[in-house]
């Protein structure tokens, strides 16, 4: 009803109401004057015409127009005021901030850490998770996988690639690739390069053009085609002095001459092989001669660029249809029959698949820290606002409007936020450097991690959001507060509402800190459990050295080289043992073969790691012998073929029966039979968390192929690492053209194998500790403030005979109540949130009660410590002084 009356009144003289409305932006001191003059003007017009009710529409409209023209007048006056008073606010604000340097620095410090840390993390996460890949129309790029026997992703065969590229109409271009590590020889010392063998269409799919020369010519992509290479800008600069005459020149890779046809631009980022420096053609046979050829091996990665207008659903349907209908033109072997179709997914999703959970978790963690920082600063500002009640009341009494006081507060908060944000940018810059230094090796798109425009925008948005949060809550408070009342009030308390908000903030802070600490705790336990897992061998003080021999070497030359190297290294003083292995545990080597047992009808063999090792390797690595014998020097080429298998493989096939004497075929199904002579303990090959432990060992002599890359494992008395120069000399004394491609202590390999988890853990630990400190400070602040406020009350209690012990427990109880509420809320939150971490955890449940309980306990201890000082201060209150204060 009231509204209707209001509405009628509004309709009766809308032009006057408009003036009233516009008057709001005119400074109060001028407003009455201003309004009166404008209203007089409009009434004058109205009088000249007739009464409002008798006016026609056109005249009414004219009056309205006249009233709105007052807007410019009002604005003009307004502008002056804004400028004047804003500068006044800023000046005054800066003065207030300078007067309390401790408070100011604390707030700026907290804010800059919050902004800095979150910006740094954002700049790392952004290129990987949110930005599209650095290629034109990257959304159209898809990656395809075959289904392995267990349903997991498996690389495709060249045959599948041929069939899809002939039959599918969804792709503009399609390419396959595999890693390639050629050795570059020439004037400088031999160097092993990282590179890729690709089909000719590789750079078409990426849509990247070389700065020099050309991309590959499809007519060269056939067996025995021209040997051509494209170099990365980095390699071109480093090894060829950025010589623009490089095109057409021959370089020696794996002792073959390759003609350089192109150099890629330095902006080219190769997400499919981030450290790739050289590309050559795959040169597979498109006619797919037999199923036994390499064209039918599952070892290629396939990516394609969709025609414009084709989406992921359409291409999936297309590929499914092709997989279901086999044609006579494209026969398929059993292992590449595409029975379950292919997995088709965007390239972006595929290459971020492994790291995404960790990065998202870290990103959310840093946002939590930011939230805690905001809460903390808000709390500090509220406390400060409360201390300044008297000041505000005086200003109010001297004629400052309530809004004016609030604006003063907002200006100060914003000033703090922007100082914090600016400093935060610096923090971010350092944070990014630290992140790059800490990041696991081979982190995708590490080169794209920098504080760029996007990160800058993120920081600004975050700063502004903080500004709003941090400024508004205290400002609203000040606005609602009874300013006149506070002039009268000194220590007696009437600000219950304010305390309530501050307490709620502390509860939120404790809850958020708990979530972070629980996450950090879970990760820490995971890593501990992981490193507690025995690797299956003795990794301490073990030097490893990977040597790659020339492709020109025939089998005999290769074996001779390795045997001679082994003997040469044995002669190095200090070396106590040295052996050879074809693959090194936890080093990134993955060399698996199918194993077929005699009298076993299974078509697909047990996938097992293959080790060709020198006799004595098993003993030297301290891999325990479970049954039978180890490999020894009698297992030479001419002797009966022997094999040692891992415990896990033996159990899987034979259960508790004795496998010794059984025969197995290792690798291709047309191979010879080996007799199992022993069973040894399991060794972790891919990672400590790995569950695939099937393995077999033979001597290099008895393995049907020869390995041109082998690793030496060396033990010495004392520090093995210091022997490195002598060992290198020894190997080069055999043949100086053979590159040592990787030297590492086994301990380091072990640590690196869990680098991703460790990376996540370090960040979570840092954030967790920051959260703990902030939460502690928050509790301290609130309790300490409340003690100040209750000085008189406590004084009365003490005067009436309360024991100091009672006062202590009174204050402590108050803090504990807040902490426990926070913990309760936090436990619920953590319970809901930690399951997002599941992928990063090992051997611990996402809701592990021990961690939850432990963290809650730690928080309680911190809270008690934070309450203790203010509480002790409360007990020292002198009742006489407290009572006299009023």
């Amino acid at each position: 009803m009231f509204l209707i009356i209001q509405w009628r009144r509004l309709l009766s003289k809308p032009h006057l109401h408009l003036i009233a409305l516009l008057g709001i932006i005119v400074p109060l001191r001028l407003r009455a004057d201003w309004r009166q003059e404008w209203e007089a003007e409009l009434q004058h017009r109205e009088q000249l015409l007739a009464g409002w009710d008798r006016l026609d529409f056109r005249n009414k409209l004219d009056l309205m127009r006249r009233s709105t023209s007052a807007f410019w007048d009002a604005l003009w006056i307004q502008r002056q005021r804004w400028e004047d008073e804003m500068f006044q606010d800023l000046r005054y604000g800066s003065r207030m901030l300078l007067k309390r340097p401790g408070f100011t620095l604390t707030v700026i410090f907290i804010l800059s850490l919050g902004v800095g840390a979150s910006t740094a993390i954002f700049s790392a996460v952004n290129p990987i998770l949110f930005e599209s890949l650095p290629y034109p129309e990257a959304r159209q790029m898809m990656m395809m996988w075959d289904h392995g026997p267990d349903g997991a992703r498996q690389e495709v065969t060249f045959g599948t690639y041929r069939e899809i590229s002939e039959r599918s109409r969804s792709f503009e271009s399609l390419t396959v690739m595999r890693p390639w590590q050629p050795t570059l020889t020439g004037q400088a010392e031999p160097e092993r390069l990282e590179g890729q063998r690709v089909s000719a269409s590789y750079f078409d799919v990426l849509r990247v053009m070389p700065t020099l020369g050309r991309i590959f010519d499809p007519s060269d992509d056939r067996p025995n085609g021209a040997k051509v290479a494209i170099l990365s800008d980095k390699l071109w600069q480093r090894r060829f002095g950025a010589d623009s005459g490089i095109i057409g020149r021959q370089i020696s890779l794996d002792d073959d001459n390759y003609t350089v046809v192109g150099v890629m631009p330095n902006t080219f980022e190769n997400v499919l092989a981030p450290s790739g420096d050289v590309w050559t053609l795959l040169q597979y046979d498109s006619s797919l001669p037999t199923f036994e050829s390499r064209e039918w091996g599952h070892h290629l990665r396939m990516i394609g660029r969709l025609r414009s207008g084709i989406g992921r659903d359409e291409v999936s349907r297309d590929i499914d249809a092709i997989a279901r209908t086999q044609t006579s033109e494209f026969p398929r072997p059993a292992w590449s029959a595409l029975k379950n179709g292919l997995i088709v997914n965007s390239l972006q999703d595929e290459i971020t698949r492994d790291i995404k959970p960790a990065l998202l978790a870290i990103f959310f963690a840093v946002l939590l820290v930011l939230a805690i920082a905001c809460v903390n600063v808000t709390n500090l500002l509220l406390a400060r606002g409360a201390q300044r009640r008297g000041e505000f009341a005086i200003r109010n009494a001297l004629g400052a409007g309530r809004l004016r006081v609030v604006r003063q507060l907002v200006t100060e908060s914003l000033l703090l936020t922007f100082l914090g944000g600016a400093l935060g940018m610096l923090v971010a810059e350092f944070g990014v450097r630290a992140l790059i230094a800490l990041s696991p090796p081979g982190l995708l798109r590490a080169s794209a991690i920098r504080v760029d425009a996007a990160a800058f925008a993120f920081a600004i948005v975050v700063t502004m959001l903080i500004g709003i949060v941090v400024a508004l809550i205290p400002a609203l408070h000040a606005y609602r507060a009874d300013l006149v009342g506070s002039l009268k009030l000194t220590s007696r308390q009437s600000v219950g509402g304010q305390q309530l908000i501050r307490q709620a903030l502390v509860v939120a802070e404790v809850a958020l800190a708990l979530v972070l600490l629980v996450s950090a705790g879970l990760l820490m336990i995971s890593l501990q459990r992981l490193f507690a897992i025995p690797a299956g061998f003795n990794a301490s003080n073990l030097l490893t050295l990977r040597v790659q021999t020339s492709r020109r070497f025939d089998t005999q030359a290769t074996q001779r080289f390795f045997v001679q190297s082994l003997n040469a290294v044995r002669q190095v003083p200090g070396v106590t043992a040295v052996e050879l292995t074809s693959q090194l545990p936890l080093s990134g080597d993955v060399d698996q073969y199918g194993v077929h047992f005699e009298n076993d009808n299974q078509k697909v063999g047990y996938s097992s790691f293959r080790y060709a090792v020198s006799p004595g390797y098993l003993e030297m690595m301290e891999i325990p012998l479970r049954r039978g014998r180890s490999l020894d020097s009698h297992d030479v080429a001419a002797a009966p073929l022997a094999a040692v298998i891992s415990e896990s493989l033996a159990k899987h096939k034979f259960g508790d029966q004795d496998p010794i004497g059984q025969r197995v075929r290792l690798g291709p199904s047309d191979g010879p039979w080996h007799t199992i002579v022993g069973v040894v303990g399991d060794v972790k090959q891919t990672s400590l968390a790995a569950s695939d432990l099937h393995a077999f060992y033979t001597t290099p002599d008895q393995w049907r192929f020869s390995d041109n890359t082998m690793s030496l494992v060396i033990r010495a008395a004392g520090n093995t690492a210091s022997l490195m120069p002598a060992i290198r000399e020894a190997i080069w004394s055999v043949n100086k053209d053979q590159p040592i491609v990787q030297v590492a202590m086994m301990d380091d390999l072990l640590a690196a194998s869990e680098a991703e988890r460790r990376f996540a853990l370090i960040l979570f630990e840092t954030f967790g500790l920051a959260a703990l400190a902030l939460a502690g400070a928050g509790i301290y602040g609130v309790i300490s403030y409340s003690v100040t406020e209750r000085t008189r009350e406590i004084g009365v209690r003490l005067a009436l005979g309360a024991e100091r012990r009672n006062v202590l427990s009174l204050i402590m109880r108050q803090g504990l109540k807040l902490t426990l509420s926070g913990i309760g809320l936090g436990l619920l939150l953590a319970w809901a949130v930690t399951r997002l971490l599941t992928n990063l955890l090992y051997g611990v449940s996402a809701t592990d009660p021990l961690i939850f309980g432990g963290v809650a306990f730690v928080l309680i201890v911190v809270a008690l410590l934070a309450c203790y000082w203010p509480a002790r201060r409360a007990t020292r209150i002198d009742p006489l002084i407290a009572l006299r204060q009023e």
């Binding site: 004057d33 404008w38 007089a40 003007e41 004058h44 006249r66 007052a70 007048d73 003009w76």
Partner: protein, 108 residues
């Protein structure tokens, strides 16, 4: 607003006041300028010290009855700058002679 940089509208308004059109809506009527131009200009001129203003007593307006008027008056600098500006805007020199209507608080 520096000396001699008086806008045409401001000059017209000063001229109107010096000619005896002394309050807002009177000035609007005689100059034909819209209120959204005249009022801001009056505030600017007053702030610059070329004008001074004064509200008439409410009982006078009530007696008529009409809205209360705020009377403006040229200050000495106002008269000087007007004289200068009129020399620039030659057209204004030929405006009708002064319509002597000084405010008489006792009556008007």
């Amino acid at each position: 607003m520096g000396k001699g940089s008086l806008s045409y509208a401001a000059t017209v308004i000063l001229q109107a006041i010096s000619s005896g059109y002394l309050y807002g809506f009177d000035i609007i009527d005689i100059t034909g300028l819209p209120g959204g131009t005249v009022y801001p200009a009056l505030r600017r001129l007053e702030e610059a010290g070329y004008l001074s203003s004064q509200w008439e007593k409410p009982n006078i307006a009530q007696a008529e009855p009409r809205p209360q008027r705020k009377y403006y008056e040229l200050t000495r600098p106002g008269r000087e700058i007007l004289a200068e500006a009129v020399k620039r805007y030659r057209l204004l020199e030929r405006t009708p002679p002064r319509k002597q209507r000084r405010p008489k608080p006792s009556r008007a």
